[in-house]
């Protein structure tokens, strides 16, 4: 299931200094990359920008050649009703399957749907996909994000 549902996420380490986010986004813009989902984690001195984009390979190449160090990781996405309790339902299944969630972020899709992105430890990824699938959750194929 992993090969079918894992989505490439790019992480970029950024120092907290003025203009740094501007530089990343300019590189992506110039390369014609469409950001499909993003999350930013930060501490007082630095942050990590996490992106799911329409063309991960191209984005990675553009960022690398601009001097950013980019780490690619597998995450997965699920589609849920844009309604109360949807997120709870997904998290509950993962919790019952004893799967740790490293982090998660979400965006509202075009229709009545919301998409949740999850990062779980590498060795738990397969179990997570299985548990969700069994639990009747719709897994999103990467093609949804990519061109």
């Amino acid at each position: 299931m992993r090969s079918k549902y894992s989505v490439k996420q790019l992480s970029i380490f950024l120092e907290n200094r003025k203009g740094r986010l501007l530089e990343v986004t300019k590189v992506l813009s110039d390369a014609g990359i469409n950001i499909r989902a993003l999350a930013m984690a930060e501490s007082a001195e630095f942050g990590i920008l996490r992106l799911v984009v329409n063309n991960p390979e191209k984005a990675k190449t553009a960022l690398s050649s601009a001097g950013f160090t980019v780490k690619e990781q597998d995450v997965f996405a699920v589609e849920v009703e844009d309604a109360p309790g949807s997120f709870y339902k997904v998290v509950k299944i993962l919790a019952e399957a004893d799967i740790n969630i490293d982090y998660t972020y979400a965006f509202v899709g075009g229709t009545q749907k919301a998409v949740l992105i999850f990062k779980v430890p590498e060795e738990m990824l397969d179990n997570a996909l299985k548990a969700l699938s069994t639990g009747g959750i719709t897994l999103v194929e990467p093609l949804f994000f990519y061109d």
Binding site: S11, F13, L14, E42, S43, G47, I48, F68, V70, Y103
Partner: protein, 435 residues
Amino acid sequence: MWNRIEGAPREEIEALQLKRLRDTAERVYHLVPFYKKKFDEQGIHPSQIKSLADLARLPFTTKQDLRDHYPFGLFTVPMDQVVRIHSSSGTTGKPTVVGYTQHDMGVWTEVMARTYAMAGVGAQDVVHNAYGYGLFTGGLGFHYGAEKVGAAVVPSSGGFTKRQLLLMKDFGATILACTPSFALHMSEVALEEGYDIKRDFKLRAGFFGAEPASQGLRQALKDAWGIIYIEAYGLSEIIGPGVAAGCPHGSLHVFEDHFIPEVIDPETGEVLPDGEEGELVFTTVTKQALPIIRYRTKDITTLHRRPCKCGRTLVTMDSVVGRSDDMLIVNGVNVFPSQVEHVLTKVEGTTPNYVIVVDKKGVLDKLEVWVEVDETTFADGIGALEALKKRLEAEMLNELYINAKVKLVEPKTLERSMGKAQRIIDKRQVEGGKK
């Protein structure tokens, strides 16, 4: 003057040095395999030492030699004769170890008494000793010397500035012993706390050492505390503090009847004449546990043999103006970039690419280590990075005895210079000093 030898005719001092040098050479040659081998390689036997000029024919000893024989390999006495062991932090996890017999403690106490005598310290005085007590030789060196001259010593050690000020005031301290930067820090805190320094404190002299001090800092201390400034020079490998001490006329006299100084060209090892700047080298001629032949201090200075107004005939040295290696002195603690590198390599998740930034925060030094994170580390999230930062800081404190602030920077952002890496950015200014 504590001991008449300090003002004895040069011939008398030199005759004493020669006799002691020959004894020491015999001692190390016969008791330490390392020295026998070194002497043999140089083609010199202790019996061939006929004059002080022959000292130049003896082999050097380096800090690395001490480490290679960790912990007690260069000691010339069995451990049952050792009464004290001190140690400094090491560059590759192995510290430098020094040992003292009862006799050596006597020598150390004697030279520290001479140091205190530079300001006439005696039974009437209360010595507030804020050098760190512990493995560092500063605290205990100044402690024993103060007792020897009959002063009351307050072993306050470092830190707790406000409490130190309270004790200095309430106990009527007349003498302060600490690093110059800490003395200035104390004066600033005293002002903040509302003390009227010259009325509330009875200090009349300070004994400052363990780190370089600019003329500006010296003057600031004299003005702030209303004291005379006595410079103390030493290093643990030779004995600790007490190798040389400043007289009220500003000359730094080397107690050369115990420690014979030379200045050499750090590149060639050639002995330089008086008045020429080079690397300071010491041979201990009275120590038993760990006699050292021609120890390369890496300190850059100049020696002078000229009469001093204070009456001492001992050779004088200029205040140390720099180092012939990359050692940094941060709030009195010696730090080598290689030590930082060692910590970084030990802690997974950091590339060995780093820059050490030393700056002043007020009067105290602050040390930052900028470390590039690698892509495997930051992918685990902010929590992992914060943990890495904390772990690096804890390791620095543990291995280097310093509070360093670690700053994680983007991979591949630190300047990659051609050839030798620019590892150190020292923003502190020491007048008269040079790189």
